[in-house]
């Protein structure tokens, strides 16, 4: 452990955020590409922030290259944590530190990246476990705002952003009665119908705004343009099968140009064929969660990814929240214990995410031409025992793996003379 800390300190000094200057060759390690492939004893070359070679044996000679011996270690693409409030929230219970939920019901125009705090104390703890990218997602209301994909280490939000306003988030109402409501069934159902009509009215108005000649400026409508034409993804947050069916059918029939993805989707396992037919990617967020219903199989949350993936549905694994997101690799690990292969599980937190985010040409796998954003791990990144990140690179540049928690541990270990 002491040795590891030493390395971290060295890297900490080196990190500039100004881009890679020296070619780096990582060799002798196991390369987990992110698309399902594995190269044992592989070589990977990073030049000018890009991956320029991935393979078994090096064919070119590099002068002045830094060589990293990764013997016995594993190299992974930087993990992508979708569906988080990383950077938007510091301490759950302290209101002043919460920046993810704007007031109002329809807020497609608010943008999460603006609030993304690159100096959050939480971000380095996510990096510590291999997460190099986070989708900062606004919450609340019906349409919460737009999300962006951010680096977990950068000088400011502008530098951190790699996919700006890539999607807008909508919370679909539950179509079931609440066991807690004091209102009778009829009233509850009526309210749900009303909410759905409000959503429809909003989308119709946005279409009219788009088609109108010089309409009076409307920030909310204006922000809907790229949703309506499918350039941005509409992330539909819904947990229950009935709500998912309702939402997907709603957009397919009324606004077919809208590009949709599902978030949460706890009950997606009940409607696998439907999701497959409609080619909807699913960002699961309740794997480390209790089964939704008492009758559910005890391991239902764990095996849902495998069930969806077996049907050919694109699955992404996520963990809502901020500090909780650091457990993302272990969520994938659990999915691997329940039906996925380890490489499939890895794909769910790397390449599949990059594809949904529209950045798969740049990140998500260890392939030639992509950004050199990767981590070197002492062992299996998906297992808690061996998820020890010895170094990490964003665009070829080694990043700082130090965090406040490590510092505090060191300080007090010092007190006791360990």
């Amino acid at each position: 452990m002491k040795k590891l800390i030493l390395i971290i300190v060295l890297i900490a000094i080196k990190f500039s955020g100004l881009g890679q200057t020296q070619t780096t060759i990582i060799q002798n390690g196991t390369l987990h590409i992110g698309n399902g492939e594995v190269i044992e004893n592989g070589v990977l070359v990073m030049e000018n922030g890009k991956i320029t070679f991935v393979g078994n044996t090096l064919k070119t000679l590099y002068k002045n290259a830094q060589v990293v011996d990764a013997k016995g270690k594993h190299i992974y693409p930087g993990l992508i944590a979708m569906n988080t409030i990383l950077g938007l929230n510091e301490i759950d219970a302290v209101r002043a530190t919460r920046d993810y939920s704007e007031t109002g019901m329809f807020n497609p125009n608010v943008r999460s990246l603006i609030a993304y705090n690159t100096d959050s104390k939480i971000l380095p703890t996510a990096t510590f476990n291999g997460i190099l990218y986070a989708q900062a997602v606004p919450m609340g209301g019906i349409i919460s705002g737009s999300s962006s994909l951010m680096k977990t280490q950068a000088w400011n939000w502008e530098d951190a952003a790699i996919a700006i306003d890539e999607g807008v988030h909508i919370n679909w109402p539950s179509l079931h009665l609440s066991p807690y409501s004091s209102e009778d069934a009829e009233k509850q159902l009526k309210r749900t119908e009303e909410t759905i009509s409000k959503i429809e009215a909003f989308f119709v108005a946005a279409q009219q705004y788009e088609q109108a000649i010089q309409p009076e400026f409307n920030a909310r409508m204006h922000a809907m343009k790229n949703i309506l034409n499918g350039q941005q993804t509409l992330y539909i947050h819904a947990e229950e099968a009935k709500g998912i069916l309702n939402a997907v059918n709603f957009f397919k029939s009324k606004f077919p140009a809208v590009k949709i993805a599902l978030v949460g989707a706890t009950e997606s396992y009940l409607i696998i064929d439907f999701l497959k037919e409609n080619k909807v990617p699913v960002i699961l967020s309740t794997l480390h969660a209790l089964p939704y219903k008492k009758a559910d199989d005890v391991d239902q949350p764990f095996k849902t990814p495998a069930q969806l993936m077996a049907a050919g549905i694109k699955v992404i694994l996520s963990k809502e929240g901020s500090w909780e997101a650091r457990n993302l690799p272990f969520i994938a690990g659990t999915a691997a214990a329940y039906g996925l292969t380890k490489e499939q599980a890895l794909q769910c937190i790397t390449l599949n995410a990059a594809e949904v985010l529209g950045v798969d040409a740049k990140i998500g796998s260890l392939e030639k031409g992509k950004d050199a954003s990767l981590v070197i791990c002492e062992g299996d990144i998906l297992d808690m025992r061996t998820n020890v990140i010895s170094s990490a690179y964003i665009c070829g540049e080694a990043i700082n793996l130090e965090n406040e928690q490590v510092k505090l541990a060191k300080k007090y270990k010092g007190k006791y003379g360990f």
């Binding site: 609440s178 297992d383 006791y416």
Partner: protein, 975 residues
């Protein structure tokens, strides 16, 4: 009807002779004694005789010929609020109300109404009277259903009259419940708080009778009321068992009013030795039309719909004494139909009648006066058109104290039969009258038309369409013009209003006295109900699991002993214990489990859990609630118990929440899924209690302004000093004078801590407060057994070591509130390295079922050995819970609490394949798969049955089952 004694009268009094002979009656004198075609003689409010029809009828008796109708003794409802129609005052709730706002020298808590006498507000209540009389109830025990201690109830007649004459016993019983009712006072804020309040109140009231230091009007009648029966309202089977346990402590046998789910725990219900009052408001089928909606209904709710009607029969079969109440039924039809349903589901008619007459009479010690029809008994009875258990039997007249209350107009003459009427416009038509009392009828002209007949003031009236689909009507008024010797009507005379408005007389005559059976519906008489599940929930079994001998062969053994991790070992389990560890072990009849490539460990023990707790994990309402006990409110049906088993958990400490500096007593349970609340308890475990520090105690994150002391960490310290110093004084006092010292359940608990009979688990975060509590403990003379959460423990590990505290922490939680900004995942490792017994806990049902993963994180963050990490969720929590003598490691003689893992238990890929507690397999993947398909089959069977019931015309209700609440430390609910 007489006037009240001594009341001035406006005119001469009108006192009449009361002597009636009901002849040709079928008299159900007692539940098992039916006099067929006999005579009942009633005189001056009493039963004079039951005699044969040949016997002489006393001279001057009014004779009523019942023509084969039935007479039953009036039913007695011992769970009623009849006649207590008190407008509930809307009490405004002030935020955080600590004191009783009621004026006067009463008990401190507004849910205690020991002083209340329901008789004081009793009066005749017309609408409800009608409903009771029509349901068969002539007497009720009425208690105002408000509050925990409800005071005394009044025994009354439900018939008409001035209150003076309806009251049979102004204080016939007392009432209790777990519901604080209209009280707006905060305390009690949980089910366990209610139990504590009841217990403390008994002690206080008893003490008051011994030593009157001051006046307390609430307790004045306590001694006098002690001899009365006590009706205790409970909301479900476990609440009933909880009540019975309180009764046992105080030598009281309650009459327990339940929800009607007794069959789900029938053996425990029986073993209480109590008498029961059960409702028969059986649930309606749910609307399950939409399959996704149907998914939201729990198996327990589905099954209860099917099984509830069998509850009375099951109680009866077990020989449990019970009374049936009308409470919960909406009208007389509803009650009587459900009563018949109970009979259809196996309750004998005799038992049904017993539960409505004799049993309630015995409960109230009035069986010598009411409940049966014998000479000298009160003349409380009703006349039924038929055997009451026949589907369309109706109650006609109800006599209370010999006074007639007409329930349904009826004609002594028998009108059933087919008549030929000679009507203008239509000519000869046939009128069939079926069912004398409801006057269901058919009329044949050329077409068959259904007619609604009304019988009023000895006249019948009807409107008849001139032919089918016609909107022209002939309107009739007619009356009996002749009857034969057996009271059969043979002719009518009447007037008809033609459709042109002209009136004309008409006649009708009997053709045959056996009307067509066209109206008879064929009732489906087969009754199928599923089996009771233990627990009554998803993943429950038809039978309780049994103990077996097991031979685990060739496992990698995590002993948690000095032997460490051993490869390829056998373990023998017999009679719940580990009896041998070694190679090539053998035992006859043992189930052999091949463990090749698998890992066998002691099961996980969660030091900090809130699963399996009923109605409130926090008694938040005072800063010290040491008197409340989680052990009183164990919910053995929480599905999360099963889910923990699937994650290899065998035991946990059910902790009180972190709402107050001194919280409630915890309960240590083994996850014996399927057993009852008491059987879950870890029998050998000592007492524990929850303390808490920091933001939750200060109510920092409550949103609103709060006023409860303490609001700062400064105040928290003072709460402890004050409490323990008072506890010391209390101990001294009670030692000096045990009989004349008020027993104080709160201080008594603190004394247990001082005497090392109870141990502290203290919720804690920042170093200052951790240090503080240790200093308070050192100066007063107690030790903090465990600091739980203890996220800044690493900062004061040296001090904790010196104090002798253990630590139970989260693996990696942080940043959820201000006081955890310095929480680090290296905490457990540092504490461990300092030699402090350290555990990793859950505080969360989700995390609880993968605590093996949480332990594994200690390897990553803290770089500790796998063996040490594993001990953090097994042996170490056992040590700090003082149960390591019995469990926590694999050692000969210890309880066989074993888990078989598919892989290294710390691996993210490991699954618990089998979980044993006391050598009993409570979970295995194999069993789990069988249960999964059983759940699907059973749900589908009942759902289809419900749809059928709906198609048959039964009314349905929309229903969503509430999920089991997943409690955390800081969960606060309205109680």
């Amino acid at each position: 009807m007489q006037a009240q004694n001594g009341f001035p009268l406006n005119g001469p009094p009108d006192k009449r002779v009361q002597l009636i002979a009901f002849v040709h009656a079928n008299i159900q004198a007692t539940p098992n004694q039916l006099f067929k075609d006999a005579t009942l003689i009633v005189k001056d409010g009493k039963i004079e005789a039951i005699q044969s029809n040949d016997a002489v009828i006393p001279k001057g008796a009014k004779i009523i010929n019942l023509n084969g109708r039935f007479i039953y003794p009036s039913f007695i409802d011992v769970f009623s609020s009849y006649g207590l129609n008190q407008e509930k005052e809307a009490k405004l709730r002030s935020y955080q109300q600590y004191e009783n706002n009621k004026p006067g020298a009463y008990a401190w808590n507004d849910a205690i109404h020991l002083d209340r006498k329901s008789v004081e507000i009793f009066e005749f209540e017309e609408k409800k009277s009608e409903q009771y009389l029509a349901s068969g109830f002539g007497l009720t025990l009425s208690i105002l259903p408000d509050g925990i201690f409800r005071g005394s109830g009044v025994l009354v007649l439900t018939g008409k009259g001035p209150a003076h004459q309806l009251i049979l016993n102004s204080e016939a019983a007392t009432g209790l419940s777990f519901d604080k009712g209209s009280s707006r006072q905060d305390y009690p804020g949980s089910a366990m708080g209610v139990v504590a309040l009841i217990r403390q109140t008994y002690y206080d009231a008893n003490y008051y009778t011994l030593k009157k230091e001051e006046v307390n009007l609430s307790f004045e009648n306590f001694q006098k009321h002690k001899a009365l029966p006590i009706v205790f309202e409970t909301e479900n089977k476990y609440a009933a068992l909880r009540a019975a346990k309180i009764g046992k402590e105080f030598g009281l046998s309650y009459i327990l009013k339940t929800k009607g789910d007794d069959y789900q725990r029938i053996d425990e219900i029986k073993s209480t030795g109590c008498q029961f009052i059960i409702p028969i408001n059986f649930p309606k089928p749910f609307d399950v039309q939409d399959p996704f909606d149907a998914e939201r209904i729990n198996l327990a709710d589905l099954k209860h719909w099917e099984m509830a009607p069998a509850n009375p029969a099951i109680l009866n079969a077990k020989g449990i004494p019970f009374a049936i109440t009308a409470s919960g039924t909406t009208n007389a039809d509803d009650f009587l139909n459900n009563l018949r349903k109970a009979v259809k589901y196996g309750l004998s008619k005799e038992a049904a009648l017993t539960s409505l007459t004799l049993s309630p009479a015995k409960m109230l010690n009035i069986a010598n006066k009411v409940g049966t029809l014998q000479k000298g008994m009160m003349a409380n009875f009703f006349i039924s058109s038929n055997d009451l258990f026949e589907p369309n039997a109706e109650i006609l007249d109800h006599y209370t104290n010999g006074n007639k209350n007409a329930v349904k107009a009826w004609n002594n003459q028998n009108m059933e039969g087919v008549y030929e009427l000679d009507l203008p416009e239509l000519g000869l038509v046939k009128l069939a009258i079926k069912n004398n009392n409801t006057l269901e009828s058919y009329l044949w002209t050329k077409d068959t038309v259904k007619v609604n007949l009304t019988y009023k003031s000895n006249s019948l009236s009807a409107n008849i369409a001139t032919h089918k689909n016609s909107d022209k009507l002939i309107r009739l008024e007619f009356w009996v013009s002749n009857t034969n010797a057996s009271q059969q009507v043979t002719a009518f005379n009447g007037i008809a209003w033609n459709s042109d408005g002209v009136t004309k007389s008409f006649k009708g005559k009997l053709i045959t006295d056996t009307p067509s059976s066209k109206l008879n519906k064929n009732e489906d008489s087969s009754v199928v109900i599923g089996k009771v599940l233990y627990p009554f929930s998803e993943f429950g079994s038809n039978q309780q699991p049994t103990q077996n001998s097991y031979l685990f062969k060739g496992a990698t053994l995590w002993t948690n002993e000095k032997e460490g991790i051993l490869k390829d070992m056998d373990v023998l389990v017999s009679n719940g214990k580990i009896i041998a560890i070694g190679k090539d072990l053998k035992l006859e009849n043992a189930i052999v489990v091949d463990c090749k490539g698998k890992h066998l460990t002691n099961g996980i023990i969660d030091e900090h859990s809130h699963i399996g707790i009923y109605k409130g994990v926090n008694e938040c309402t005072q800063n010290i609630t040491a008197e409340v006990r989680i052990g009183d409110v164990i919910n053995p049906e929480d599905i999360n118990i099963y889910r923990q088993l699937s994650g290899g958990v065998i035991a946990c400490q059910q902790l009180h929440g972190s709402c107050n500096p001194i919280g409630g007593q915890s309960s240590i349970i083994k996850l014996r899924w399927g057993l009852g609340a008491e059987d879950m308890k870890f029998k050998e475990a000592v007492g524990f209690i929850k303390f808490a520090l920091g933001e939750n105690v200060k109510q920092s994150n409550w949103g609103n302004e709060t006023s409860r002391y303490p609001q700062t960490r400064m105040g928290v310290e003072q709460v402890y000093y004050d409490a323990f110093l008072r506890a010391k004084e209390y101990e001294k006092k009670i030692k000096e004078n045990p009989s004349l010292t008020r027993r104080d359940l709160e201080l008594e608990t603190l004394v247990e801590i001082l005497n090392k009979k109870r141990f502290i688990s203290c919720h804690s975060y920042v170093q200052s407060e951790i240090n503080m509590l240790m200093k308070v403990g050192d100066s007063i003379g107690f030790k903090v057994n465990t600091f739980t959460h203890i996220l800044e423990g690493y900062k004061v590990a040296d001090k904790m070591k010196a104090h002798g505290a253990n630590a139970s922490t989260f693996a990696d939680w942080w940043a959820y509130k201000y006081e955890v900004i310095d929480a680090i995942p290296q905490n457990a490792a540092i504490l461990n390295q300092m030699g402090i017994v350290t555990a990793v806990n859950s505080d969360d049902a989700e995390m609880g079922r993968r605590l093996n993963q949480e332990a594994a994180k200690m390897v990553k963050y803290g770089n500790i050995s796998e063996e040490d990490a594993w001990k953090m969720v097994t042996l170490n929590p056992a040590i700090m819970l003082h149960i390591d003598k019995f469990t926590g490691s694999i050692k000969i003689g210890k309880q066989a609490d074993l888990v078989l893992w598919s892989d290294n238990p710390l691996s993210v890929y490991a699954k618990a394949e089998m979980t044993l507690i006391d050598g009993i397999c409570y979970y295995s993947i194999e069993k789990d798969y069988a249960l999964r398909s059983a759940i699907k089959l059973e749900r589908e069977r009942i759902i289809q049955k419900m749809i059928l019931a709906k198609q048959k015309g039964e009314k349905t209700t929309k229903h969503v089952s509430a999920p089991d609440i997943d409690y955390h430390c800081d969960t606060v609910e309205e109680y």
